[in-house]
Symmetry: C2
Subunit: 444 residues, 2 copies
């Protein structure tokens, strides 16, 4: 066969990058579990009718068909597609298993998702998401909306990444405000306002006039609302000054204040009310979250979510929820692309046991086993060779130590190939310094 080439939109990390990703995933999981979120993994596929039910991304689905299947059958009602997020599958899982779960149900889910977008620069078609959600039967207390950013804040603080800011809004604020202004189609207003960053206020105003017949006073008020931003409760006064009165608006302001104030106490500077945030997915009904990495704001949100009252419901049962999702691939893709993360070696290996001659492989294997029994990652050299070559084997991979079996009853020695220091050592007791045991990740 000829040499294969990458497929656009399907990123693959080299092992050194994958070690960083693994480490990031573990730290995220760790935080999620400290908050009592239980792990869940759903199948990669959902029936197409589930996937097409909600949200703007629903058109970007990969449809599956078995190779041996009649191609015509592949598009039928029972066709399967790859999930495009983890919220829709989670809602389906809750409905399917509601009799076996304890509510409120807190789960995390770290999985790949797929979007069947047109191939284009910089858009992933396969990427990793790390989600937390809480759902309850019938009603879900609001305090879970305040908890989400705190969990994410803790998770991000554990990661080797720049500081993050979580931007929060509440759909009730927007909808109430627009209704209070006399605008009848708040969803359409929201969709237009959502384009602010892309097309600017002048064009947004024009769209509001053209599409829903907004007056210049209404347009002005909508644009002024979208400008409001604060890391404390002061945004409430700023909204009040716009002189719109509406019950839903008041409810939304009260909710948004609670999220901002809880965060200000727990982690000052983490959360900012940002009243232009809308979120594309149309299943959100209240709080919405987006997240910017400091220094990478222009690349958009790397962690988003919100409250959904109606995503998981049948005729007789309803499970409102709130959740947030870290875009792991998106975040790491950004940081890798800017050479912002590095790792001290490209393999887990801490020690290479040098092999003086092939006949001594058994003895070298035994040394490796002794080291591994104390959790020191160890490889034996692939073949007998001059010691210089064995040291280069370690050097090329960033492995810090080479172990030399002693000849003729002499004691073994171990060499730190960075400093050149070589000392006598016993495989049954030697330990490397703690910082050398595992590959170290650093931010550059």
């Amino acid at each position: 066969m000829s040499k294969p080439t990458p497929i656009s939109g399907f990123p693959e990390w080299l092992p050194a990058q994958r070690m960083i990703e693994q480490n990031v995933i573990e730290r995220i999981r760790d935080t999620f579990e400290l908050y009592g979120f239980a792990p869940l993994e759903t199948r990669a596929v959902e029936p197409m009718d589930q996937l097409l039910r909600k949200g703007e991304t629903s058109k970007e689905v990969y449809v599956l068909r078995r190779l041996q299947e009649d191609p015509a059958a592949g598009g039928g009602d029972d066709a399967l597609g790859l999930h495009f997020d983890l919220t829709v599958p989670f809602a389906r899982f809750v409905l399917e298993n509601s009799g076996k779960l304890q509510f409120p149900f807190r789960r995390y889910q770290i999985q790949k998702v797929w979007r069947g977008e047109r191939p284009q620069e910089g858009r992933y078609r396969e990427f990793l998401q790390a989600d937390i959600d809480v759902v309850d039967r019938d009603t879900l207390p609001f305090h879970y909306d305040t908890e989400m950013p705190l969990v994410i804040g803790d998770a991000f603080r554990s990661l080797p990444i720049p500081p993050a800011t979580i931007l929060v809004n509440n759909r009730k604020v927007c909808e109430g405000f627009y209704r209070g202004l006399g605008l009848e189609d708040p969803d359409e207003v929201l969709r237009i306002i959502d384009k602010l960053d892309k097309i600017g206020p002048a064009k947004v105003g024009q769209l509001l006039a053209d599409k829903i017949g907004a007056t210049s006073a209404q347009i002005d008020a909508c644009l002024r609302l979208a400008e409001i931003s604060a890391t404390d409760g002061s945004f409430v006064d700023a909204v009040r000054k716009l002189n719109v009165d509406n019950d839903l608006l008041n409810e939304g302001l009260e909710e948004l204040s609670r999220v901002v104030e809880a965060a200000a106490e727990h982690a000052p500077g983490l959360v900012r009310a940002e009243l232009k945030i809308a979120r594309g997915l149309d299943y959100y009904t209240g709080t919405v979250y987006e997240t910017q990495l400091q220094g990478y704001e222009r690349f958009g949100s790397i962690c988003s979510g919100g409250r959904y009252e109606n995503l998981a419901s049948t005729g007789s049962e309803r499970f409102p929820g709130v959740g947030i999702s870290i875009g792991v691939s998106r975040m790491l893709g950004l940081l890798f692309g800017h050479q912002a993360l590095s790792v001290s070696r490209s393999v887990p290996t801490c020690v290479v046991v040098a092999l003086p001659q092939e006949e001594l492989r058994g003895r070298c294997d035994k040394i490796a086993q002794d080291l591994r029994s104390r959790r020191i990652s160890t490889e034996v050299a692939p073949s007998a060779a001059k010691f210089g070559k064995q040291i280069r084997f370690a050097e090329r991979r960033g492995i810090p130590y080479v172990w030399f079996p002693g000849a003729d009853g002499e004691p073994d020695t171990v060499k730190d190939i960075r400093s050149g220091e070589q000392v006598e050592a016993d495989a049954a007791s030697w330990m490397p310094p703690a910082q050398d045991l595992l590959p170290a990740i650093s931010v550059s």
Copy 2:
């Protein structure tokens, strides 16, 4: 919508089972990393021409098409399919990135794979595999064939599962033996012999006669070879007694002996030479592995692999390899199905902080933060309620401890709800016994 139902072949674990699976994955990873295997994750899709290149499973592929794409284009030469194993994608990755990798390249890969089989009882269409492979440029030393079972043996010993036996054979033994007998199509003989467990020796003999015109002496020799089985080097004598002489047979016997003998030294009883093992995938060229769990032999192999000389090669480059793959979903599906594994709680949570009244949530959150800062997984009760209800909340999830904030300057207390013992405690210093910190998995 109506209540969703499961999709045949796409198993989903409940959170308690997923906790067991996570734990199993971590222990497997741990062992792989102690042996210096670097992590890798490849994209879920491969071009169809890659997937259809090798192996009997290649017909069971899920083909993808973008929903917005012309359905007719979905079957074209550049169509994508979901990978059906992790070896083919790995071979492709090595060819694609050979300039960026260090050889010999040792990697592990733990991912879902998909097989577009007809829906039928007990066959997974989505399942998790955990693979290790070593590849090198041009030639790969044989000692890596002896290492594979040792790594797997260590991994399995770290798991809460019954003891495993790794069955080993070598295609050179079979091919050399068949050729030595004068049979000209050893691949076809192997495919027929592979049916032994399903159809029995009489029918296998008939097929050998019908399909390749084997004589009764040839059939008898083939069936006697397939009966040979030993946990030490004694199988060599058993083969010699069949009086077949062939260079490839001798080479295979020498290789197979090395695998069996290395294992007998490292882990007595782990590996057994079993000369009927064939493995369906046609890319194997030497050593082949299968694995049985004691007590679950009749359910087939839960860990398989082998040596492949030609899987990763272009016109100018060749990367022979050897690898083995744990069928994690298959193994856990078996054990879950037999109620052989259980976990002490269905959530990671170790402590629930009882909430006396909603106004005290801030104080309870602070207690939870103190506990989490010392890596104790903690939840605050979802709502204020009588303490009996809060204890039942913990009980239903198997959470061992409930924390009660002291009223009016009284000290806090923590109650072990299994024993009923309740003691004064300080959130800044209290630690649960080590065995309660994380959910405990047990074999039943």
